[in-house]
């Protein structure tokens, strides 16, 4: 097995035993990028020289006695997290040349632990989308089938992990943007509890929903990355000041004494029968591993997509008001006055989906419509959150499909925004409720496309989610499969 195909914990063990070096691992990853990225198109920016310098420093630090589970490990960063001196584009023309003067807190924490950054990965522009087709630069392809989407918006992160173009990656999740691409690309992706991970330096889309999390090759790696990026940050007033457990202690091979809830609202008509079957098989496997399985109900599930598209777009219309061509980013030429400069810079700088969402959000917040849309959405959000509160009285984790189908074809849904929005139907409620959720591989379709199992937990109980995910993963072989490229 090539070094680039290995997990963080395998490489950590090899590095600790002196069987390899960070330089060798980093070279393996950079070579892999060189070989396959013209097909996969996961990276917007490759920082090869800086990565090799970080790798050499990691090897030196290890000799000097430094130890960390990610020391010398290449971790790719979604291009909406600020990296000092490396451009951070949000896959948008409006930030095409933006070079941040500071690091996002998650980036600073990874750097502090000695990880290596091979580059910045593609996404839907401003994280708005479910297919990475909305990138202003190019679409990313699914490594399992290059004619299909890798999911989105963290499609570059998921594809890069699946293709071995990095060992792990960070993504962000506002309505499913870590979990749905993880499912599409056959990797593990965790959206932590809202407030668990600092959002400082994450370019804001919808501030009450956005959360950063890991995309990795297995559950153990997710726990390892969570240990590094979690915790209170004075620079993010919405980061929660709660204790952070050692997540690797949740990696227990059974689920004895745990109750798994199955919400009937997540097994709907129109779902791919192969997805339905794979997820039901996974639930049976959890039962064999000692879990008690119970029915739960999340009655407001059918309202989640509508609620999300009011609240997320409203927050986005406000957050994206800052792009005006004054302090940073793109400025249109030939404007006749200041207002004209704002209008032209924004119109030329934003892509169609971003404009559509700004328009929808501005409409929902505008005079006369606020109560009918925004306030109504916030009230339904309360009902959705209460559904989960009730369900978690009966169950420790909830099991659902991550997405109703496996990865769809490039171009299949791009002309109909509403159809695209509905591919997030199983992931969106989780952001509205602020709870943690993981997606992990639970099978393949007859067309050899990965299928994702989603496991949800109570606020700040990533531990139970990781335990159930780990027990299932260790009883199956899905996580060992790699796409042929």
């Amino acid at each position: 097995m090539e070094l680039h195909d290995r997990t963080i914990h395998e490489l950590r063990d090899m590095l600790e035993k002196g069987e390899t070096t960070s330089r060798a691992v980093t070279e393996s990853v950079l070579n892999r990028i060189k070989t396959v990225d013209d097909k996969v198109k996961a990276f917007i920016t490759v920082t090869a020289d800086a990565a090799l310098a970080q790798a050499d420093r990691a090897d030196k630090d290890r000799k000097a006695g430094k130890a960390s589970p990610v020391l010398g490990i290449p971790v790719a960063i979604k291009d909406n997290m600020c990296t000092t001196g490396t451009r951070t584009t949000c896959a948008s023309k409006i930030l095409g040349n933006f070079v941040p003067p500071y690091d996002a807190t998650v980036v600073a924490r990874l750097n502090g632990a000695g990880s290596v950054m091979p580059g910045k990965v593609n996404m839907d522009e401003f994280a708005m989308g479910s297919s990475t087709e909305n990138s202003a630069f190019f679409p990313t392809k699914n490594p399992w089938d290059l004619e299909r989407i890798p999911g989105g918006s963290s499609g570059g992160s998921a594809a890069a992990v699946a293709a071995g173009e990095c060992i792990a990656a960070l993504g962000s999740d506002t309505g499913g943007s870590i979990r749905q691409p993880a499912a599409c690309c056959g990797v593990v992706g965790l959206k932590p509890t809202y407030g668990r991970v600092s959002r400082y330096g994450l370019v804001a889309f919808a501030s009450s929903l956005d959360q950063i999390g890991p995309l990795t090759k297995d559950v153990t790696d997710t726990a390892i990355v969570m240990n590094i990026i979690s915790g209170h940050d004075p620079k993010d007033s919405t980061s929660a000041d709660v204790p952070v457990p050692d997540f690797t202690r949740s990696l227990i091979k059974d689920v004895k004494g745990m109750t798994v809830g199955i919400p009937k609202e997540y097994f709907i008509e129109g779902m791919d029968p192969e997805v339905d079957k794979a997820v039901r098989e996974a639930v049976k496997a959890l039962e064999r591993l000692g879990a008690k399985v119970v029915d739960v109900s999340l009655p407001h599930t059918g309202y989640a997509v509508a609620t999300y598209y009011i609240l997320a777009t409203s927050e986005a219309s406000s957050n994206l008001a800052r792009y005006d061509g004054v302090k940073y980013g793109f400025r249109a030429q030939g404007a006749k006055d200041l207002l004209d400069m704002y209008m032209k810079s924004r119109s030329q700088g934003f892509g169609p989906e971003v404009k559509r969402r700004i328009m929808l959000g501005t409409y929902a917040l505008s005079a006369g419509y606020y109560d009918a849309y925004y306030k109504k959405g916030q009230q339904v959000r309360t009902l959705i959150k209460q559904d989960f509160d009730e369900a978690f009285k009966k169950a420790d984790v909830i099991a659902t499909p991550t997405a109703p189908t496996a990865a769809f074809k490039i171009g299949e849904k791009s002309s109909d925004p509403l159809q695209m929005y509905l591919s997030d139907i199983f992931t969106i409620s989780v952001n509205l409720a602020g709870i943690p959720g993981i997606s992990l591989p639970c099978g393949f379709t007859t067309g050899n496309l990965p299928i994702g199992l989603q496991l949800l937990g109570r606020h700040f109980d990533e531990g139970s989610v990781l335990r159930a995910a780990f027990a299932y993963e260790q009883a199956t072989e899905w996580h060992t499969k790699r796409p042929k490229l």
Binding site: F98, P101, V380, T382, P417
Partner: protein, 95 residues
């Protein structure tokens, strides 16, 4: 809910977006479809339900009022599309 061309133009102005005629027509259709879908929410009785703006019980986060280092001027201006004399430069505002 069918949104009119005048509404699209009004909202675009509020959002500081300049739309081409073709973009307007497309948005009229797409926004109308999305708003019709969103109106399914009207089928829910939410009388007396408290709105949720934020899931965590965090209020009024403050820090001690002490100065801390900020970005040096040169770095703060490094990404400016246009700058002059240590300032951001914009088109003339006052006639």
């Amino acid at each position: 809910m069918k949104i009119s061309k005048q509404e699209v133009e009004h909202v675009a102005k509020l959002a500081r977006l300049e739309l081409a005629e073709g973009e307007k027509d497309k948005l009229i259709d797409q926004l109308s479809n999305i708003l019709t879908y969103v109106e399914t929410l009207n089928g829910l009785d939410t009388k007396g339900v408290e709105p949720t703006s934020h899931v965590l019980d965090i209020k009024n986060v403050v820090r001690d009022d002490v100065s801390a280092p900020g970005l040096p001027q040169e770095q703060a201006l490094a990404n400016a599309p246009e700058k002059a004399a240590g300032h951001y430069k914009v088109p003339k505002i006052i006639e």
